[in-house]
Symmetry: C2
Subunit: 317 residues, 2 copies
């Protein structure tokens, strides 16, 4: 299969070095049909390829002159910096010059860029950012939303269940993924106004395998493969988990399972509900993380997740 | 000083044994003026005192014939089981026959019982359940709400800031406690609808020391002494933290600081915003936890927290 994966080499705290080094790592293991497209300052990209002994002919480079900084206002930046690596990346993605797009840059700009270019899939009310949840049993769960939507109406939470279920099924190959609604009690009467109503919508559907409410203690057990919550709660839990990892690390406590809390283990996380595979990475992304993100972009593309989401939402609306 | 601390000996998974054993532990260290009042099945209470070599004359026993179970509907249970240990405990508290009340029983029934008997302090919109947050630096933070109010309006969040600040100042003796609003970014423009509005209210007050938004990664650092959030988010984070402690424990990873995640280290947590000191404990409370709760009830009473909250809310309304 032929595939082109676009990488914003200007995004992230250690850009462009870590992005290019990650691309070099990934390229060594990719089959011939998969091409990496480095988007950013061409001269700096070329120099990094050469300095690190990579054959520049194995990569495509797309030159851009602007960079969206981490602290910039997303909408303003995307509309004004037309020659930024993020804006150009989405332009290429919309054109189908690339099949997927990866960046460790400004998350807000990535979300806005996605909405302006490839756009939300018809029927999807709000695209969503996911996070990987390492299960104690060794499997992988998915948590969504982790920050794109601070306030979520019940129908939005319902759609997160469907999006997460399709992701888990197609990318993680989970059979009939169990979808849990994050709440403050297992009983359907427990929750806030949004989850109480979402619970009802989910209980009535046959579009995914809803197993009911789960609680804050159930992230790492096997109760649910997909954990649905609003982006406020999800973001707080995600950052809380990251801080626990950081504390363990500082205390020199090492454990194989807790090591999977390290963002490097996964690289990045997809935006779901848009018309193309887009992976966003942590601002501090290392070469190893970029390598993982490239692998994930490939998996998402090969799984045909996007067209499967489209079919499901066509059927739903 | 003379003081009477009421203990529901029928609440919790290991009742009455652990409650009575905890009372025996605590009694040994209490000054003569402080009397423990054991509320529940008198015969079972007396037998436990005798079997464990305690002098029954050092305790008061108030006999009750009913027990509110963990799964019972709070309002129904409180109104129908008038001779339950929780209902009788609140009756004694309202009468001032006891100065504080402790239970590891049905949390909902404790909240409803408090509202029906001693009632919310005038001006307090919603009483709140707190949780202790062990700081890496050794200090103690307070998180509120952890479950009493799933949906919180901005003015309710504002009041949590004041209640938490008064608790931190009077019970933990923190000087000018730093109050942080839990959100998804440090900037005041980041948050959900409730926190965005609450941020504004908090920024405009001189009733407590508001330091702005804090994030999920800031629980254990020294940014804030008081962490304010709605009861949905707080409950999920609390249970998440408990699950991390459980996982570390199972993995045989021992660390002095993480040991402070153990509920036993603290015993229980107060309901704030009502007209008397009430401490609620974990359902699995051990004797050690009951001993700690008795200590906390004493501290809260000695600090005159309730009258300080009353004065602040009088001034505020």
């Amino acid at each position: 299969m032929s595939m082109r994966i676009g990488i914003d080499i200007m995004g992230g705290d250690y850009a462009p070095q870590e992005a290019v080094l990650g691309a070099i790592m990934a390229q060594k293991e990719l089959p011939a049909g998969i091409r990496l497209v480095l988007i950013g300052d061409r001269e700096r990209g070329l120099k990094l390829l050469r300095d690190n002994g990579a054959d520049e002919n194995l990569f495509d480079l797309v030159h851009t002159t602007e960079v969206i900084e981490m602290a910039e206002s997303p909408t303003k930046a995307i509309t004004q910096k037309k020659d930024s690596s993020i804006a150009v990346g989405f332009h290429l993605l919309k054109d189908k010059s690339i099949d997927s797009f990866i960046s460790a840059g400004n998350t807000g700009a990535m979300l806005v860029g996605a909405m302006y270019s490839v756009k939300a899939i018809e029927g999807v009310i709000r695209p969503v950012i996911t996070s990987i949840v390492p299960k104690l049993s060794g499997g992988m769960g998915v948590l969504l939303d982790v920050g794109a939507n601070a306030d979520c109406k019940p129908d939005v939470l319902f759609q997160f269940g469907l999006l997460g279920s399709l992701f888990s099924q197609n990318v993680y190959k989970t059979v009939n993924p169990k979808v849990g609604l994050l709440s403050i009690g297992e009983e359907k009467e427990k929750g806030n106004l949004a989850t109480l109503a979402a619970h009802q919508l989910m209980a009535d559907t046959d579009m995914f395998n809803f197993i009911g409410n789960i609680e804050g203690r159930d992230f790492f057990n096997d109760m649910a493969d997909v954990i649905v919550c609003d982006g406020f709660t999800g973001n707080i839990v995600l950052k809380f988990a990251e801080s626990i990892y950081g504390i363990l690390h500082k205390k020199n406590i090492h454990d194989e399972w807790f090591e999977r809390f390290n963002y490097e283990y996964w690289g990045g996380t997809p935006i779901l509900g848009i018309n193309a595979p887009v992976i966003i990475g942590h601002g501090i992304s290392s070469a190893k993380a970029f390598n993982k993100m490239i692998g994930l972009a490939r998996e998402v593309t090969e799984s045909n997740l996007i067209s499967k989401i489209k079919s499901s939402f066509e059927y739903a609306t």
